[in-house]
C-alpha cells in the first residue's frame, strides 16, 4: 500500500482534507475530456482533483458511464441502482468499457490493468473498484449473481417461504429481486379481498437476503464455513413501512453489513419498488456460527497444502474491511 494513501476508516470519519490547487491548463484539459459529460461530472472531478476526497468518485464514475450509454438507456443510470449491469442493462460492450476506462484513467489520473476489468459487471462494481484503487485498498471479490436455483440450493429457507427470485452478492452487500406473484398462500387472508404483502414478510425477505450474504459473501478463516443451520434472527430496529405492496410489484431488496462480531451480524436493509421506498430497516441482526469444512483436497501435482483456503489472503481482505466499517 502506498504510504501516501490513507486506508478508509468509513464514511463516519472525515477524509483528511488537503486542498491542492489545480493549474488552469489542467482544469481546461479536464473540462475538454469531460465535455460530453454532465456539468456535475466535471464539478465532481475537479473537486476530486483538488481534495483527493473519494466521496466525489461515484459522481465522476456515473457521469463517465452515462456519457457512453445510448441516450434512451440513460434514464436507468439516473436512478443509479448499484446492481445495474453494464452489459445486460446498459448495452455496454467490451470496447465501450475500454472507452470508459480510458476516460476514467484520464480524469482520475490512474492506470487500470486489463485483468482488473474482467470482474466489473455492475455499476456498483465499477464504483467500488475505483474507490478501492484511489484509496489504495485491495480490490474486492467480484459480485456473484445467483439465480433462483442457486439460492434455493444454498439457503436453509425453502419455498413457499423463500422470498428471493434472484440475487447478487458482493463483499459489501447483497441485492435481490422478488416479484409478488399473487399466489403467495398468506395473501388469501392478508387481507380479505385485498391482497397486500405483509410488512413482516418483507422484513423476513430482507433477513433472508442477509442470510444469503452470510453464506455467499463472507470469506471465513481457512477450514471454516458459516453453518446454514446456525443462522437465526435476533432483532431489528428502526423499521418503517412506506408503501403498500401488492401482487405484480417487483421488490428490489438490498442489505449492507454494518457490524460483524461473532456471533452477531448486523445489517441495514431497504426495499424499493421501482424508485419508491417501500421498507427501511435501520438494523437487522442475525446470529450465526461456523462449522468445520473438510480440508481442501490435495491437487494432482501435490503442491497445494491440505486445508489451504481456495482464495487465500487477498480474498479474505474485504471481510476485514467490511468488519471494520
Amino acid at each position: 500500500m502506498p504510504d501516501s494513501v490513507q486506508p478508509s476508516q468509513g464514511s463516519s470519519k472525515p477524509f483528511p482534507f488537503i486542498t491542492k490547487p489545480v493549474a488552469p491548463e489542467d482544469e481546461a484539459a479536464l473540462r475538454e475530456s469531460l465535455k460530453r459529460c454532465s456539468p456535475s461530472t466535471f464539478e465532481a472531478a475537479i473537486q476530486f482533483r483538488k481534495t483527493g476526497n473519494p466521496e466525489h468518485l461515484p459522481a465522476v464514475v456515473i457521469g463517465v458511464i452515462e456519457r457512453f450509454v445510448e441516450p434512451d438507456l440513460r434514464t436507468k443510470l439516473k436512478d443509479a441502482d448499484d446492481d445495474l449491469r453494464l452489459i445486460e442493462d446498459l448495452g455496454i460492450d467490451s470496447l465501450t468499457m475500454m472507452e470508459i476506462v480510458i476516460l476514467v484513467e484520464d480524469v482520475l489520473q490512474m492506470s487500470i490493468n486489463n485483468d482488473e476489468l474482467r470482474n466489473l459487471r455492475t455499476v456498483g462494481d465499477v464504483k467500488t473498484f475505483i474507490d478501492c484503487k484511489v484509496r489504495g485498498l485491495p480490490l474486492p471479490k467480484p459480485t456473484k449473481f445467483l439465480p433462483i436455483e442457486h439460492i434455493a440450493a444454498t439457503m436453509p429457507i425453502q419455498p413457499p417461504f423463500l422470498f428471493l427470485n434472484e440475487a447478487s452478492v458482493s463483499s459489501n452487500g447483497a441485492n435481490a429481486k422478488y416479484k409478488i406473484s399473487g399466489q403467495e398462500f398468506f395473501l388469501q387472508g392478508h387481507f380479505k379481498d385485498n391482497p397486500v404483502m405483509p410488512a413482516s414478510i418483507m422484513l423476513e425477505a430482507l433477513g433472508q437476503l442477509a442470510v444469503l450474504f452470510l453464506l455467499e459473501g463472507l470469506t471465513p478463516e481457512p477450514g471454516k464455513a458459516v453453518n446454514p443451520q446456525m443462522i437465526f434472527f435476533t432483532g431489528c430496529e428502526g423499521v418503517r413501512a412506506h408503501r403498500v405492496c401488492r401482487p405484480g410489484d417487483i421488490l428490489t431488496l438490498s442489505i449492507k453489513p454494518k457490524r460483524m462480531k461473532m456471533p452477531l451480524a448486523t445489517f441495514e436493509g431497504a426495499i424499493r419498488v421501482g424508485q419508491e421506498k417501500a421498507v427501511i430497516a435501520e438494523e437487522i441482526t442475525l446470529t450465526f456460527g461456523f462449522m468445520e469444512v473438510p480440508a481442501q483436497p490435495v491437487t494432482e501435482n501435490g503442491t497445494a497444502q491440505a486445508g489451504a483456503p481456495s482464495n487465500g489472503e487477498p480474498g479474505a481482505a474485504p471481510l476485514r474491511v467490511a468488519a471494520s466499517a
Binding site: 460530453r36 457512453f68 445510448e70 470496447l95 475500454m98 480510458i102 484520464d106
Partner: protein, 420 residues
C-alpha cells in the same frame, strides 16, 4: 457463364448526394469545386477542392460530426468510422433502397462486399499523435479500425451483417475498379449471387494535400478552371471525397427479385505498366493492354464502344498517357466513341474514383445521356483523332468503357452494356 447486372446505386459525392442530383449535375455539367476553406491560408498553395456537401466531418471526434437528417448512425457504430466510412454507410443505405433489397437478401453467405479506400490519414495522424503525447494505452480502442486502409469494409461488413466474400482493394486510384472487377468475377464464377462494391475517401486536408508534394494538385484559384482534363492548360487534379456503392447481381437474382437493372457488367481487364511507381507509362502501355483485355472478355470490338469515361485526372502526364492508349485502341474511323472525363466536375476521388465513375456510366446508360468533358477551352493537341465531347450528348450509349489507373502503373478497364 451467368450474366451480371447493376441493380442499385448510392451516391455521396461532390456533385450530389443522391442519384437524381448526380444525374442532373452530370447532364448539366455542374461541378462540385469550391475554394475549400481549410486551404485558404497563405502557406497552402492549393486553393480548390471538391468536398462533399451537407456533411460536417472536420473534427477528430466522431461525436462532433453532422450529416443529413435522413441518416442516423449510433455512436457505437460511428466511433469505429472515418469520415468516408460515414459517406459509404449513407451510400450503402441508398443502394439497398435503390435495389429494393431486404436484410434477408443481403445478409447471407451468397452476398459479399468488396471495398476500397485509402484509409483515413487524418484519423491515423490524430491517433498516432495522441499515442506519442499521451501514452500508448490512451489510443482510442477503435482508432485503428477507423483509420487504416480497410476501414470501409470492416465497418460495412460488420454493421450490415454481410456474410459472403469481403475484402478491401489497395491499388490507389484503380482500387475500386479492381473491387468491381473481382466482384464481377465472383458472380461469374458462381461464388456469390450478389456483391456490394464500395469506393470511398475522406477528401479532406490530410487525404488531399500530401499530393501537393508530388506536384499532382492543381494550383488554380478559379474553381471552374482547376479541374480540366484534356485541356492544354491543365495543371493537376482537384481532390474530392465521398462514398459510392453499387449492387451487382447475377441474372438469376435479377429475375427472381423482378428488378430492373441499370445495365449489365459485360467484362473487365487489367494490366500493369511495369514502369514507374507514380508516373503513368508515357505511351499508356498498361492501360492499352487493360482495355484490350476488357473488350476481349466482353466479346466486344472497339467499334461497338459508344462512350468512354476516361480516368483523366487533369494532370499533364496522366491525361496524355491515357489519350495515347485510347488512340491505339480506337484506330478505325468506325471506332469513334464519345470520350469525357467526369473528373472535371467531381474532382479526383482516388480510391473512390472507379466505383463513382462506374456508377456514372450506369446512370448514363439507364437515363440515356453521355456527360460532356467540362472546362476545356483549348484541347491538348494529343486529343487529335479522338472524340472528346465538350458538351453532354442526349443519346443512350449501348456500350460504355470506364478506365482507371493507379500508382505503380495499375490499370483497370471495365465494360458496361445496356441491359436486355
Amino acid at each position: 457463364m451467368p450474366r451480371v447486372f447493376i441493380t442499385g446505386i448510392g451516391f455521396i459525392t461532390s456533385i450530389g448526394n443522391d442519384a437524381a442530383t448526380v444525374a442532373a449535375s452530370l447532364r448539366e455539367m455542374r461541378h462540385g469545386m469550391e475554394l475549400y476553406p481549410p486551404f485558404q491560408k497563405p502557406e497552402v498553395p492549393v486553393k480548390v477542392a471538391a468536398p462533399v456537401k451537407g456533411f460536417q466531418m472536420d473534427s477528430n471526434d466522431p461525436e462532433d460530426w453532422s450529416f443529413p437528417a435522413r441518416y442516423t448512425i449510433k455512436r457505437e457504430i460511428l466511433r469505429g468510422m472515418a469520415p468516408h466510412g460515414v459517406y459509404a454507410w449513407c451510400a450503402m443505405q441508398q443502394a439497398i433502397e435503390d435495389a429494393k433489397l431486404t436484410e434477408a437478401d443481403w445478409s447471407n453467405p451468397q452476398t459479399g462486399l468488396y471495398a476500397a479506400s485509402g484509409g483515413s490519414p487524418q484519423l491515423m495522424g490524430y491517433m498516432l499523435n495522441r499515442m506519442h503525447t499521451q501514452g500508448v494505452m490512451r489510443c482510442s480502442p477503435l482508432g485503428i479500425v477507423a483509420s487504416i486502409s480497410g476501414t470501409v469494409n470492416f465497418n460495412l461488413v460488420a454493421h450490415f451483417r454481410i456474410r459472403g466474400s469481403s475484402c478491401g482493394f489497395s491499388s490507389a486510384c484503380a482500387s475500386s475498379s479492381h473491387a468491381l472487377g473481382y466482384a464481377f468475377d465472383d458472380l461469374v464464377l458462381g461464388r456469390q449471387q450478389r456483391m456490394f462494391v464500395v469506393g470511398a475517401e475522406d477528401g479532406n486536408v490530410d487525404s488531399i494535400l500530401p499530393f501537393a508534394g508530388m506536384r499532382a494538385l492543381s494550383l488554380q484559384k478559379d474553381p471552374a478552371l482547376a479541374s480540366r482534363p484534356f485541356d492544354a492548360a491543365r495543371d493537376g487534379f482537384v481532390g474530392t471525397g465521398g462514398g459510392v456503392v453499387l449492387v451487382l447481381e447475377t441474372e438469376d437474382e435479377v429475375a427472381r427479385r423482378g428488378v430492373k437493372p441499370y445495365c449489365e457488367v459485360a467484362g473487365w481487364g487489367q494490366a500493369s505498366d511495369g514502369h514507374n511507381v507514380a508516373i503513368s507509362h508515357p505511351e499508356g502501355l498498361g492501360l492499352q493492354a487493360a482495355i484490350e483485355l476488357a473488350l476481349r472478355s466482353s466479346r466486344l470490338a472497339p467499334e461497338e464502344v459508344d462512350y468512354v469515361n476516361a480516368h483523366a485526372t487533369s494532370t499533364p502526364i496522366g491525361d496524355v498517357s491515357e489519350l495515347r492508349a485510347m488512340k491505339k485502341i480506337f484506330r478505325t474511323p468506325a471506332a469513334r466513341p464519345a470520350i469525357s472525363s467526369t473528373k472535371a466536375l467531381t474532382g479526383h476521388g482516388l480510391s473512390l474514383a472507379g466505383a463513382m465513375e462506374s456508377a456514372f456510366c450506369a446512370l448514363a446508360i439507364r437515363e440515356g445521356f453521355m456527360p460532356g468533358s467540362a472546362h476545356i477551352t483549348r484541347p491538348d493537341p494529343e486529343c487529335e483523332g479522338l472524340n472528346i465531347i465538350r458538351s453532354t450528348l442526349p443519346a443512350q450509349p449501348h456500350v460504355v468503357l470506364n478506365n482507371s489507373s493507379g500508382f505503380g502503373g495499375a490499370n483497370v478497364s471495365l465494360v458496361f452494356r445496356r441491359a436486355g
